[in-house]
């Protein structure tokens, strides 16, 4: 990612926008909706908010125009240039112009207004073009973008957060700790740090996710190197500093826990109806947070770990099983405290600070002691 020369940015977080005129290719509602959705893309990963005004000068004036349109940078008729926008600042700065010689559509049969608007509004906020072809800020229009699964690339998120920082912590529940901790520092963690520990580990559609503060490593078994991302790049509504996460493969869903709440995600989509309270799963009120969770594919049950105890949850019946909690060390000899855990190849992997234990559930014994980042090819 890059910024404009001189790095212009808005000096306030509450910005105004105005839709000055409309294309005839779409209804007014469709234009408004595309612009709102495009602004939301950036609002979700920054502290920026956007309020619409209907008269006067807004920070971001949005208009459709043909050929020469008053800024000495004429549009070029159908094709090639689709729009342009100006870096943050007064007057024409911050404004976004769309070439009305294009056929604007809400899908990709013509030129998708949402995609172009999201890109141009990136300029309005201070982002220059990116050389990353996966980035929204790459200069070429990509008609093959999957609109249903649209998300910013990590490069876009890094760029805009370089200018404005991340969004404020979710105010959802006052019981959820929101103070920044050492795990939530701005600096991305070093994957080969021998002291590296994880907040939570889960599988996701064949990959392994290692959560740490605001970041997540994605490790595919097909590639040697893990890829580090901001959690917010994939799931803007998910909090940082997770306590536990696990994937119920039969439901194609990852459940992520923080404090006494949990969220459900399917691929890149946050599931409706969450966060829910962990007490809806059957935990006693004495449990304030979980440490780790493992879904056992074969049995369709989930182990939840908190302090030195664990519970077993029947995913088929959706009930916490009787006879729990039990002491972790009694049923998992050699395992005392668990920060994070996941199952792979029939083994359980328990993480505690910078150590990792490979546990054979059939033999009921620890088979290997590893560094926590043994999956990172360090």
């Amino acid at each position: 990612f890059t910024q404009f020369p001189g790095m212009p940015k808005w000096r306030k977080n509450d910005l105004t926008y105005r839709v000055v005129n409309y294309t005839q290719d779409l209804s007014r509602d469709e234009v408004d909706s595309a612009i709102e959705k495009a602004l939301k893309v950036w609002a979700e990963v920054t502290p920026l908010t956007f309020s619409r005004i209907y008269d006067g000068e807004a920070d971001i004036m949005i208009s459709f125009a043909f050929r020469e349109h008053g800024d000495y940078i004429p549009f070029d008729g159908p094709g090639n240039v689709l729009g342009h926008a100006y870096a943050p600042g007064p007057g024409i700065n911050g404004d976004a112009h769309f070439d009305d010689d294009e056929l604007w559509t809400k899908d990709t049969t013509g030129t998708n207004l949402f995609l172009v608007a999201a890109h141009e509004l990136g300029h309005s906020l201070g982002l220059f073009h990116s050389a990353d072809p996966k980035a929204l800020m790459y200069p070429l229009y990509n008609s093959f973008t999957d609109l249903a699964r649209f998300r910013l690339s990590q490069d876009d998120v890094n760029g805009i957060q370089f200018l404005y920082g991340p969004p404020p912590a979710s105010p959802a529940d006052p019981k959820v700790p929101t103070e920044p901790s050492h795990q939530e520092s701005e600096t991305p963690p070093a994957s080969c740090d021998p002291a590296l520990s994880f907040d939570a580990v889960s599988t996701l559609r064949g990959e392994i996710l290692f959560f740490k503060g605001r970041h997540v490593w994605r490790k595919s078994l097909r590639t040697a190197e893990p890829e580090l991302y901001l959690i917010s790049a994939f799931w803007p509504a998910l909090p940082s500093g997770l306590d536990a996460a696990y994937e119920v493969t039969s439901k194609d869903t990852v459940f992520a826990f923080k404090g006494n709440q949990f969220w459900a995600i399917r691929g890149l989509e946050m599931q409706a109806g969450f966060p829910k309270s962990i007490y809806t799963l059957g935990f006693p009120a004495t449990v304030k947070k979980l440490d780790a969770a493992i879904f056992v594919k074969e049995k369709k049950w989930t182990y939840f770990f908190a302090e030195d105890q664990y519970w077993r949850f029947d995913e088929k019946k959706q009930v916490m099983e009787a006879g729990f909690p039990r002491k972790i060390s009694e049923d998992f000899p050699g395992v005392e405290k668990v920060d994070a855990a996941f199952e792979a190849f029939g083994f359980f992997y328990f993480f505690n600070e910078s150590s990792q234990l490979e546990f054979d559930p059939n033999a009921k014994k620890v088979t290997h002691t590893l560094k926590s980042n043994s999956w990172f090819n360090c």
Binding site: H123, H129, P139, L140
Partner: protein, 82 residues
């Protein structure tokens, strides 16, 4: 007359390229006349800059991949500092 046709297509591609480099890669008008100069010309450097930025194979030449890319719809903001 296929040779003439091919030559016309090449000319049109070069014009398009020159316009693209002027619009988005800050290719000054001063080098306009050098557009056909082989070797280490400002145009070749600008083509390389463009190819590198857009993730193309860096040849410094107007090859078919480069021509395809410059014909694609895009944002009108230049790719390099103004």
């Amino acid at each position: 007359h296929p040779l003439n046709g091919a030559a016309r297509r090449e000319d049109s591609g070069m014009e398009l390229l020159q316009q693209y480099l002027e619009n988005y890669y800050d290719l000054g008008k001063i080098v306009k006349q050098l557009v056909r100069t082989p070797g280490d010309s400002p145009v070749e450097k600008k083509i390389q800059e463009m190819q590198k930025f857009l993730g193309l194979k860096v040849t410094g030449k107007l090859d078919s991949d480069t021509l395809d890319i410059i014909r694609k719809p895009r944002c009108g903001v230049p790719d390099v500092g103004q």
